[in-house]
């Protein structure tokens, strides 16, 4: 297993998420590149038609990206075209990984992703029970495989995830689907406590919206914060590219500052 992504968590990390191709290919390139200044890792969504783990904000972003013609092949081209140093993690659903290429299973996509410069995967509909083929492919091509630990994950499940995870562990702050919230979940500290001794960094996501949230989460023991819907909402505003770019940069800086403040 690689430790590539682990190294990026030396200081509290800001891990933003956007959907590739939302609202269109060129705009999306600009928005992702804007994030690169503040971001330590970028989770880049490859849109799937049935995103069962997403709330309305990200669902709508996925619809916009699909309508503008985003496909797995274009996604790889998109990643190659990005001029960022920040590591990119592909976040998508298993069927797209499974269908790509001429042999069934995730290997062809992982190989292509590695060539395009992707450094890891998060696959929300792939629990450890079904993850062996993807883990093997990631090992073969030197990619990290991030798993989600939910508030309900305990006991033997935690042990199994600990065995398979690499890069960082995605700590789901609350039950439910993705979406920005007005408060941070009280369950985060308990979730972090359950994985206290793990060697991989712990990044907390689901509901984080402000720098103040970010600060509190890092103070509770997180090594990083993952923010999706609060950024996707800015893209969804429909303002022109310059305005959206500006607001994304401001929000990203606020979140990164918050994360750093939590470490003081």
């Amino acid at each position: 297993m690689t430790v590539g992504l682990t190294e990026t968590f030396e200081e509290p990390a800001f891990v933003p998420y956007l959907v590739a191709g939302d609202p269109g290919y060129e705009d999306s390139l600009a928005y992702v590149e804007t994030l690169a200044d503040a971001a330590d890792v970028i989770e880049l969504g490859l849109p799937f038609s049935e995103p069962i783990a997403e709330g309305p904000t990200i669902q709508e972003a996925i619809v916009r990206a699909l309508e503008e013609g985003m496909t797995p092949e274009r996604y790889l081209a998109f990643v190659r075209e990005l001029s960022v140093e920040t590591p990119i993690v592909c976040m998508t659903y298993y069927n797209l990984l499974y269908q790509y290429g001429d042999e069934p299973g995730p290997r062809p996509f992982v190989r292509a992703a590695a060539r395009a410069g992707i450094e890891g995967f998060v696959v929300p509909d792939l629990p450890v029970e079904e993850a062996d083929p993807l883990r093997a492919a990631c090992d073969e091509f030197g990619l990290d495989l991030i798993f989600i630990v939910a508030p309900t994950t305990e006991g033997a499940r935690l042990a199994r995830i600990r065995e398979l995870v690499s890069g960082y562990v995605y700590v789901q702050a609350r039950m439910g689907t993705t979406g920005a919230r007005e408060d941070v979940s009280g369950r985060t500290a308990a979730s972090l406590a359950r994985i206290d001794g793990w060697s991989v960094p712990k990044a907390v996501g689901f509901g984080i919206k402000t720098g103040e949230h970010a600060e509190r989460i890092v103070r509770a023991g997180a090594d990083g914060i993952i923010v999706g819907s609060a950024l996707v909402e800015i893209v969804a505003s429909g303002e022109d590219r310059a305005a959206v770019t500006d607001r994304i940069a401001t929000k990203a800086a606020e979140l990164k500052r918050g994360a750093l403040a939590g470490d003081e």
Binding site: E50, A53, D125, P151, T152, T153
Partner: protein, 441 residues
């Protein structure tokens, strides 16, 4: 009800939730603990009858549900097709469809598990209705997710669900049909799983749902097999059932799997077979006949998808068959050659709807009408493996479909459709295209 005692059929592949390459558990981590809990409850209460679960389930299915349902000889169809046609009358089960077998089982199981809230998706509204009824019967609060397209085309069931005291949550994503309703119910469950049970409506989803739902639905074929022995003195040569997700289908097949009985799963052929890659739609719901292997809603199965693996929008005139996936166990049996998938298109299903209504005095659900459409196709001289005695599963009654049938029939040339002039003259063709067309004349 449970398989282990019924000899022979215990050699199932379900222990790990895999049916050959199909099945599995492709769901968010947050749901996995609940799915493990459900697997445990399935094994203890349903398979091992702990705390007398199965005894209570059977008693309630009889007293509340009206089981057993009859096995009836269809006299006119038998004459028409020159063979013995028998009907398993699941349309006479409380609620008007086979759906109650599963809904009652799962709501009761939720109660044994100490859950205090029920959610479910519905397409045709039959599963929603059955779940709402079971929840009222067992005094549990209940919310039903239903696509907006389906709310419009299955209005009577929306009334029934609301009348039974359950909430209906409209789903507006995508085409607003069963696929989106399942996705949205899974999203609800991801947030509420600690106190809520998701009563999935067919043999789809992550393990243990396909096994659990099939076990509850097997009562159909267990009864039918016994009734056939008693009434006809033999088993049928074939069983025909429509297939959306495939719960009435597996329910009707299960007890015949070790017999020399041909099993036909009739899918919705819609307006034509095949996937339109450019538009990302399949004008059908024939995932068994034309689908390819992939992962949807928690299971690996046969799907309607494009070359990239995006799930395409399906179509059928019947809301309950309008789904891009199918149960993994059924997909597996098709691959093994134990179940024959066939497709019947919208027109033939509508004709069959009218034919059964007129010939036998049974108004079938549009889903069910597909099964009868297949009998007609065969009688037109195609290859025939149906044999001399055919058992058709009448999965549900068609009251919910009358408005849809009126509109859809007005749009087509159907030889058997009654003319509705009497309604038209009285100005009683309310709403819909039929009315609009009329005023234009």
């Amino acid at each position: 009800m449970t398989a282990p005692t019924e000899g022979g059929r215990s050699a199932r592949t379900e222990a790990d939730g895999k049916y050959g390459a199909y099945g599995g558990q492709y769901v968010p981590e947050a749901l996995m603990p609940a799915i493990e809990e459900l697997t445990d409850a399935y094994e203890r209460y349903v398979l091992d009858n702990e705390e007398g679960f199965i005894d209570e389930f059977r008693r309630r299915l009889a007293d509340f549900g009206g089981r057993p349902t009859p096995l009836q000889r269809a006299d006119q169809l038998s004459a028409r097709y020159d063979r013995e046609v028998y009907l398993k009358r699941e349309d006479l089960l409380h609620g008007g469809a086979h759906k109650l077998n599963n809904a009652l089982g799962q709501v009761l199981l939720a109660q044994y598990m100490g859950k205090d809230r029920i959610i479910a998706e519905t397409g045709a509204g039959q599963h929603g209705t059955a779940t709402a009824m079971a929840a009222a019967h067992l005094d549990m609060p209940c919310e039903i997710y239903m696509g907006e397209t389906d709310i419009a085309r299955q209005r009577p069931n929306v009334f029934r669900i609301r009348t039974n005291g359950a909430e209906v949550v409209p789903v507006t994503t995508g085409r607003g049909t069963l696929k989106e309703a399942i996705s949205e119910t899974m999203r609800d469950w991801a947030g509420t799983v600690e106190n809520t049970h998701y009563v999935i409506g067919s043999i789809v989803g992550p393990h243990p749902f396909p096994a659990l739902v099939r076990t509850f639905q097997s009562v159909i074929s267990e009864e039918a097999r016994r009734q056939a022995r008693d009434r006809i003195g033999r088993l049928p040569d074939s069983v025909v059932a429509c297939a959306g997700g495939g719960s009435n289908t597996m329910g009707a097949f299960d007890a015949f799997r070790d017999d020399d009985v041909a099993l036909y799963a009739v899918e919705a052929g819609g307006s034509s077979l095949g996937v339109d890659q450019d538009r990302g739609v399949a004008p059908n719901s024939a995932s068994l006949s034309t689908g390819t292997e992939g992962v949807l809603h928690g299971a690996r199965t046969k799907l309607l998808q494009d070359g990239d693996g995006q799930i395409v929008e399906s179509h059928s005139v019947s809301a309950g068959l309008d789904y891009a996936g199918v149960g993994p166990e059924l997909a597996h049996l098709v691959d093994r050659g134990q179940v024959e998938p066939v497709a019947v298109d919208d027109d033939d299903a509508l004709e069959a709807f009218h034919r059964l209504s007129q010939a036998e005095g049974i108004i079938p659900a549009l889903e069910t009408a597909h099964a009868f459409g297949y009998l007609e196709t065969v009688s037109e001289g195609q290859a025939d493996g149906l044999g001399e005695v055919v058992l058709v599963n009448v999965s549900g009654r068609g009251d919910k479909d009358l408005e849809t049938v009126l509109e859809e029939t007005a749009d087509r040339e159907l030889s058997v459709a009654p003319n509705m002039d009497v309604l038209r003259r009285a100005g009683g063709l309310g709403g819909g295209q039929a009315d609009a067309a009329d005023q234009g004349e």
